[in-house]
Symmetry: C2
Subunit: 384 residues, 2 copies
């Protein structure tokens, strides 16, 4: 093993623990930095985004708005919140385990095992997927590193996987399930802007659903042709028109709760009916699908079944999707991300914070809001 | 063409018409009885059940309870009801068309075309699927007739298709989608009792969900092992236990509206979690599926997403299912129905009515209630 810098024996790692009494606690744990095996490297993490999926692990079902308490500073910083009793059943599997957080990140390889591949990474900037990224150091298999093109900063490569592969996965799912156009909600998000760029590049008609006029303007400025604002009184007819124009019969919904998924199915059916040649009591025979891939609205999902019988609503998650398509197809998607990292897949962050800052009250309330355009980046190599 | 009896030139046929102003009208139309082509027969319909799917065509989105008006008697009997304005969009495709009703039925072949197959059916009792069965006569292709075994009455063969093939289709769908046990709601229905008999015969674990204690008793008396009463305070834990015992991860729900579909998914996830070895923030990776095949509860469908990300809810309909599996597999299911018509697939009717009686106020309110165990049979050959 060679080390580009002196490798410290221990480092800080953020962990989330749900206690049996319903208290959820976030803290920085001092953990051993394992020396790399022959085919492993040690990465000093310099950038790790806080994605909605990370917040799910960080705070679980805890009531952040109502019960957040923070204490300490630096390496002693702590945050805690209460999990409502009725939601503890969903937390049962993680009670008593302090779980490391952070799905993806990027940084510099500071130590490497003896394999040629590992050695070649020494001193280079790499992107990583694999959990436990909110940490000063991460020992990881060489083949889980995506070598970033020369001149790429860690912050530019930190969001290489979750958003880019999710956006590409939506387009890929659309193709594999034989739809010809797609609908996306919360479309002004980082992910939504990325999807808009992919669809423009690939010539895939995309119906963007946003919640505010300025979000609509942002997407139109980025070249989006179909943008429907759900706060507009003409939303349902605007959406039906866009669905008629594009023929979109699959949607990816980040909100999860509320009536939006059902409204999309209803408008898809109305668009299909407006072109139907004969009446069927069971609605059109064209399958209409909405995948819920997020839960920005944590409330119940509700729909009126006014869209015939050929429909489905279901969960959609990146990892099972990648497993379904197999390593070869997944690698092709990853390579595209690396190739277009500074264009199609560029991410923007509203704030860069240290590990300790990520446990401060105002910061937590900020990133838990999940406001469109607000994305936080943790830099674990920054001073606490 | 030969006729076993004198074929009248015209016959009565029940039709449902939605007018542009939102009035839905049911009436008996005098229509021509087409002479059979070489490969056709004319059947005198003697029994046609009123299935929930028929009520969907008969009354569409009309408010029967609140606005039903009946008039006339005999061939002049009429019934009408108002379609609420907000539901007229869903009716758009059928406005102005007087649609013949009745999905399935049985009767005697009274005239036949010249083909050997058609001639062989003359005078025999056959079961039919294909619409327009609430009629005195039905001219139909010979290959749409299922010849009933000798000694089978029309009433015994009238429900050969919709319920039997739906029940068999559920078990077949379970197998094709790689589940090992199944859940059924409104399980004391005619269809549910049939499904219970199939599952016992085939050794498929079945979790029956009913709404009343006497329905639970009925199913237990019929040999059902797992019966959960949704009116019991221990329903959710009873259901979770039954799901744990059976490993059922697919359900067919006849209610459609309300919270039941989501509760089933939540209990499936709880059953899986109770046996999970490690925690995943996204829930278990086992796909859980609920198909809504009916709408006994016409209200909105509502669920809390407390069952991870590996789930789906969707519509399920017999005809597209049969098309998906292809004619060979579909024929195998039909043959099983014919073989077990007086045992597994026996139907029971609470009341036999004439075409004109089917348009009387008290009768309509009776069959529109869709009460468990209450099934009506129209006999169009009875005097009006």
């Amino acid at each position: 093993m060679n080390a580009a810098t002196t490798l410290p024996p221990r480092g800080l790692q953020m962990r989330s623990l749900v206690k049996p009494d319903g208290d959820l606690e976030l803290a920085l744990h001092s953990v051993e930095v394992p020396a790399p095996k022959p085919t492993e490297v040690v990465v000093r993490i310099e950038a790790a985004p806080i994605n909605p999926s990370d917040i799910g692990l960080l705070f679980g079902a805890a009531d952040v708005d109502g019960t957040l308490v923070t204490s300490g500073s630096g390496a002693q910083a702590k945050a805690s919140a209460r999990v409502p009793e009725r939601l503890m059943r969903a937390m049962a599997g993680r009670v008593g385990q302090a779980l490391p957080c952070g799905n993806e990140g990027a940084g510099t390889v500071v130590a490497a095992g003896d394999s040629a591949t590992a050695q070649a990474l020494l001193g280079r900037t790499v992107a990583l997927l694999g959990g436990a990224m909110y940490a000063q150091y991460r020992t990881i298999a060489e083949d889980q590193c995506l070598l970033l093109p020369p001149g790429t900063k860690a912050a530019e490569g930190a969001s290489c996987f979750v958003n880019p592969l999710t956006a590409l996965g939506m387009v890929e799912t659309m193709r594999r399930e034989h739809h010809k156009a797609l609908v996306h909600t919360a479309a002004a998000s980082n992910l939504g802007q990325m999807l808009n760029r992919i669809c423009i590049a690939d010539g895939v008609p995309l119906v963007n659903i946003v919640r505010k006029p300025d979000q609509a303007a942002l997407l139109r400025d980025a070249g989006a042709k179909y943008v429907c604002d759900s706060s507009s009184p003409s939303f349902l007819s605007d959406l039906t028109q866009a669905l008629t124009a594009t023929g979109a019969t699959i949607a990816f919904d980040a909100t999860g709760g509320g009536k939006l998924a059902g409204q999309i199915l209803g408008c898809m059916e109305a668009a299909l009916l407006s072109q139907a040649k004969e009446y069927s009591r069971y609605g059109t025979s064209t399958h209409k699908q909405v995948y819920l891939y997020g839960g920005l609205d944590p409330g119940p999902t509700e729909f009126n079944r006014n869209f015939g019988m050929a429909w489905g609503i279901g969960g959609w998650l990146l990892m099972p999707f990648l497993q379904r398509i197999g390593p070869h197809a997944a690698q092709a998607l990853k390579q595209r991300v690396a190739n277009e990292l500074k264009t199609t897949f560029a991410s923007h962050y509203s704030r860069e914070i240290s590990l300790a800052e990520a446990l401060q009250r105002d910061v937590i309330l900020g990133y838990c809001k999940r406001a469109t355009g607000e994305k936080y980046l943790i830099n674990p190599s920054r001073g606490l």
